[in-house]
Amino acid sequence: MTKERETDTKTTDTVAQNPLSAYERMKLVRSQNRPKGSDFVERLFTDRIQCCGDRRFAEDPAILAGIGYLGDRPVTYIAIDKGKDLADRMQKHFGCPMPEGYRKALRHMKLAEKFGRPVIALIDTLGAYCGADGEERGQGQAIAENLVEMMGLRTPVISVVIGEGGSGGALALGVADRVYMLENAVYSVITPDGCASIIWKDAGRVHDAADCLHITAEDMVRFGVAEGIIKEDFDRFDSMCMDLKKLLLRDIDALSSQSTTRLLKNRYNRFRRIGIFEEPQEQ
């Protein structure tokens, strides 16, 4: 008995066949001139109050979090930001959040729950920060806590992978009621670079690894990991963000009309049915 989930592909019909390979998309979303988390935040949310700190140890500038308006609705926004120039990028450790970043995000999700605001999370990271200081402060525990807390968060959550969805560091903001992928965004359990060095002991075979891992937006829809794909049009970035805003507002309306019990049940089942295995009947 093999389980594969049927998915809602409402938004995919507007996207023409993407000619880029998985590897090409990975390179593209890593490029510096692609819009970053802060660019999306500026265009999607108005009248923002952006907040600092996790109230436990430090401020992590790799994650932007605050309150703003999506259209006329107050929302909590959380965005991983890779940064612009080199100084900014270094300060944000290239968009690899520290445990403090995930704890700051959780703090804002709890505030959103308290005040009945939806949460919009924008994901763009190679992965959670890898370093001795992150380990000392419980990088794994910080991510794990977000998974458990988001599973029970009593307010709608929508996540959008705007560039790279790097493993647990992305999932820590991705336990949502709806997940969208930008057209060229990728989402992966391990970086194709890391995967290539493990299987072929050859980091040069990233291209093959990217194919093997199935990291594209279409793959995410196929495996039930994402609900839809959002067309990219960075030449008309403002109008692209207007469309994205409309989509998010439409979803928030739909999710807000559900009872909290129903919302949490659906969120649980959304992840519960992901998994492909065989279960031979015992004699």
Partner: protein, 282 residues
């Protein structure tokens, strides 16, 4: 679900589901080769050098559970190479043949010092106990079962992380299991984790760090990012006990170190302290 509740002691004699088959186990610290029966008597502590030898999942259960009290659940679930990932099929076949297991996790119910408890144990011999669909599904089903039956859960973890051969589907198992942990917790039930060597990556970033209480075996490696990755990317000099159980204890992420000979006693006591857990007030 086939097993309704804990079977009577007499229904499950030793050797079933446990095997008494003899095999050799090599101590990774001193390379001494020991008979399995010898190691079972010494809690898998190497008689030659005192190192903690990694324990096969079912022997681990045998060391913690009351004799004859364990009944396995969902043992037939098997992995599928649905991405046609290089060498995965071969790895699965080898792991199945060498361990006699169908997956990297054994789940079931047992008694410890007379008290019932649901249990999952990862087996590092099976593709480094990486967490794919089957591991995720079996652990999720165990928490769901324990929630229905109002049982505490003990998780004995070890893992190389998510199973990359199952791509994004393996990453999602972290969220799936966390959802089941959350429901179990919301029902006011106890989840205890025993961290063993090595617990890393996606497991550390999910079920291994979601316990109400977290114990660790002395010296166990527990971390999120790999030591080599950290050394390569940051060039940092890492202390010798980096990511060891003692390091986690110092940094506040573990409740106590639990030597093997004390595990049954302490887990039994913990179950006794929580045996009259009421439904949580709404």
């Amino acid at each position: 679900m086939k097993v309704e509740f804990l079977p009577h002691r007499n229904q499950l004699p030793e050797g079933k589901p446990f095997t008494n088959e003899e095999f050799d186990v090599t101590c990774s610290a001193c390379k001494a080769v020991h008979k399995r029966s010898t190691l079972l008597r010494s809690f898998y502590v190497c008689p030659a050098c005192g190192a903690y030898v990694r324990i096969p999942a079912k022997d681990r259960i045998r060391l913690i559970a009351d004799s004859g009290s364990f009944a396995e659940l969902n043992q037939s679930l098997t992995s599928v190479d649905f991405l046609k990932f290089p060498d995965y099929r071969n790895k699965l076949n080898k792991a199945r043949a060498s361990t006699g297991l169908k997956s990297a996790v054994v789940t079931g119910i047992m008694r410890v010092e007379g008290l019932p408890c649901a249990v999952f144990v990862l087996d590092s011999r099976f593709i480094m106990a990486s967490m794919g669909s089957v591991v995720g599904e079996k652990i999720t089903r165990l928490f769901e079962y324990a929630t229905r039956k109002r049982l505490p859960v003990l998780g004995v973890t070890c893992s190389g992380g998510a199973r990359m051969q199952e791509g994004i589907v393996s990453l999602m198992q972290m969220a799936k299991c966390s959802g089941a942990v959350r429901r179990h917790s919301d029902a006011g039930l106890l989840y205890t984790v025993l961290l063993t060597d090595p617990t890393t990556g996606g497991m550390t970033a999910s079920i291994a760090m979601e316990g109400d209480l977290t114990f660790a075996e002395p010296g166990a490696l527990v971390g999120f990012a790999g030591r080599r990755v950290i050394e390569q990317t940051t060039g940092a000099e890492l202390p010798p006990n980096f990511q060891r159980a003692e390091f986690l204890l110092d940094h506040g992420f573990v409740d106590m170190l639990l030597p093997r000979e004390e595990q049954r006693k302490v887990i039994g006591l913990l179950l006794r302290q929580h045996q009259n857990t009421k439904e949580r007030r709404a």
